[in-house]
């Protein structure tokens, strides 16, 4: 294992352990408001300072890590699976199926899904539990986030359809599902890995943006996305570098995942 991958592994283990130990590392919790110490800089009591209504930022980062680290990869897995199924299958089958699938994909890419999300929020009861709200949000992201990769997978599968090893497999009598899953799909892994790793931070950020529609993580629960939204106010005001910690953490975690699993990407390649 190279030094980089050992480092990546160590970082991930540290982050996961810290988030699991959140109630011990930050016993005050993510919701308690220290109203006499709002927007405070880092101190012995509040290691990353407090937010605009006095909640401990360190606690919010730890608890937010749990939600984002668990749900964003799950949503990324859903979108990657759907992309593989729709795009990969369409490219493999070719002909009118590919054209139809890609027309649907292009429509999916162009439609204003904002309104579907607004409609979904309207259908949900107002007093829905925060857990349900956040699960529904990430599920929706997963169900809508497959389109870009599907296009690329269709092109990749299409180019594999006429490759020598597929012809050989066909000649050997391998057909249909087995040919697709055993011979074509593994060769799509580089694209699938790319889709998966890109989707994680994209979904984390999208979850925060969905707050404008009433979806996403509900107050007072934190998420990385909601913590990252604080950065917008920094641009016009602030010399408060500690507010960049959630961004730094997200970059480190995403990069660590990518470095750690890059070997798998190379093997897949």
């Amino acid at each position: 294992m190279s030094l980089w991958r050992k480092l990546a592994c160590a970082v991930l283990v540290l982050v996961v352990c810290a988030s699991l130990a959140a109630s011990w590392l930050a016993p005050s919790g993510y919701a308690k408001q220290y109203r006499d110490a709002t927007d405070a800089p880092p101190s012995r009591t509040h290691w990353l300072g407090t937010d605009e209504i006095g909640r401990d930022r360190f606690a919010r980062v730890l608890y937010g890590t749990r939600i984002s680290l668990l749900l964003a990869p799950a949503a990324a897995l859903i979108s990657t699976f759907l992309a593989a199924l729709i795009g990969g299958l369409a490219g493999y089958l070719g002909g009118v199926w590919a054209k139809l699938a890609m027309a649907v994909t292009d429509l999916f890419l162009s439609l204003p899904w904002l309104f579907l999300l607004i409609a979904v929020r309207a259908l949900m009861p107002l007093n829905v539990s925060p857990v349900f709200s956040v699960l529904a949000t990430f599920l929706l992201l997963g169900l809508l986030g497959w389109t870009s990769a599907a296009r690329v997978l269709c092109a990749s599968a299409g180019s594999l359809r006429d490759s020598d090893f597929v012809k050989q497999a066909r000649a050997a009598g391998i057909r249909g599902g087995r040919l697709f899953w055993v011979h074509v799909m593994p060769n799509l892994k580089p694209v699938l890995y790319a889709q998966f790793w890109i989707s994680i931070p994209v979904f984390i950020l999208s979850e925060a943006n969905l707050g404008i529609l009433g979806l996403g993580v509900a107050e007072p629960m934190p998420s990385w996305g909601s913590l990252l939204k604080e950065l917008e106010g920094l641009i016009s005001g602030g010399e408060e570098p500690w507010k960049f910690i959630p961004l730094f953490l997200l970059v480190v975690v995403v990069t660590s995942f990518q470095i750690l699993f890059s070997k798998q990407e190379e093997v897949a390649a």
Binding site: E52, I118, L126, I212, G214, A218, E219, P220, G237
Partner: protein, 549 residues
Amino acid sequence: MRLLRESLRAFAIKGRSAVVVVMICLGFLLGHVLAQGGELRFCLRTEPKTFDPLKVEDDASNAIRYLTGGVLVRLNRQTQDLEPELAQSWKVSKDGRQITFKLRSGLSFSDGSPFSAEDVAYTMQQLMDPALHSPTGDAFRSGTGNVETKVLSPTLISVTFPAAVAGLDRLFDQVAIMSAHSPKKEMAVLGPFVVADYKPGATVLLQRNPNYWKTDAQGHKLPFLDSIRLDIQPNRDVEMLRFKRGELDLINALDSEYFDKLATSSPQLVHDVGPSLDSEQIWFNQVARAPIPGYKKTWFHSATFRRAISAAINRDDLSRVVFHGHAQPAAGPVSPANKFWFDSKLKAEPHNPDAAIKALQGEGFRLENGTLKDPNGNAVVFSIITNAGNKYRERMATMIQEDVRKIGIQVNVVTLDFPSLIERMAQTFDYEVVLLGLTNVGLDPNEQMNVWLSSAENHQWNPQQKSPETAWEAEIDRLMRTQAASADPKRRKDAFDRVQEIVAEQAPFVYLVNRNALSAISAAVHGASPVILSPQTFWNAERLTIGQK
């Protein structure tokens, strides 16, 4: 010789004095010349929807109307007194139905067409057209029937309404006079500036109206500025950035957190003139047909419940934390900034969670393991909806969530996009509690008729009642009609004071805070004097100057 020396000395002294006098005069002239001209730059937060002054319904269009429109009378935003503008004088009849204006003579529109009583008549006819449906026109609608205009002479006109209009003369502050004859229609104006260019999504450029009639006390023609550039910029972070970089000259309604950031580096640029007329409040859904559980309707219909929630909310913390001290706990529907109409007997509900619990226990509620339950055992849980993107409301909602948690109530905060919010509030009534605010509130409570009348659409907590469902709403109806029909300020004040007291007792709206009027003005701007009334910073735009003094 001595005589010569003395003469020379006297001449030198006189000469030096003369030079000094000349230099002072030159300096004055130069300073005056330097102070004139220039371009004032600030932002509009939304795209203006119209340049037709009669159809104005949004803030951006209203700002343009203020800067370009000539009005008969002007409410001085500083003194809050009504002053003559295009009208030299006016008289309102005793019954409040008729107003007669004596107009100034010899004035022209920006395109040179002459101004006369005919233009006023034309404007009023257009404004009162039933098909227009504008807030400006609707403010004059007091009863069924036509509005009659009579041109008595080129400088004398009377306007008669079918019924008394409360605060009739003040309403003309919003009526920009249009030309009856100019081919330029609404683009021919009588105000200090005229719309010169409009790039949709980008800017509106106003230039000096060469035919503007007003002069200053020294006889200099107004406005001093050459132009005003209004950039369309919805994002407050970007607005703040541009102000700090010197690309903007003022921020008309500054957010409190930016106020503090700017005050740290440049305290002379920011202004806090005290509580504005704006307020933030919550209300409970009292609509009988609302699709919410019956037991929740029972809670929300109880004045005791509403006042208990009000007592549980820490308004001092809201003012201090959310608005950084640039707000004050609100006592009722009228801000203390509205000196005449504010009922000084009212005080903001003090933060008292113990009293809140006690009051609820009196209604049969009880605390079980930290959870408040109603007499039927239902845990007290409700949602507060507010508009997403308004960080102050989001923070207030989160703080209220924490405040009521201490008395065992669970609140779910839901932020929605504005159209979804309006649909729930005004059409489907599928909500429990709403957190919103009133902005651009006028001074006269008659403007809020459609909020207080139980049959009105904007009677937010239970609109469009066929007949008042409660005795106190019936009383409010009666009081509002009394003040609307009266021309006597004292009688009107007494009636509306009583309305405020009923609202404090029954708490259909739980008032939270009155925000302060905050603004930022660049050092290059001279003559600015921010006020509470909108437009806070450029209310005297025709007298502002830009540049070094």
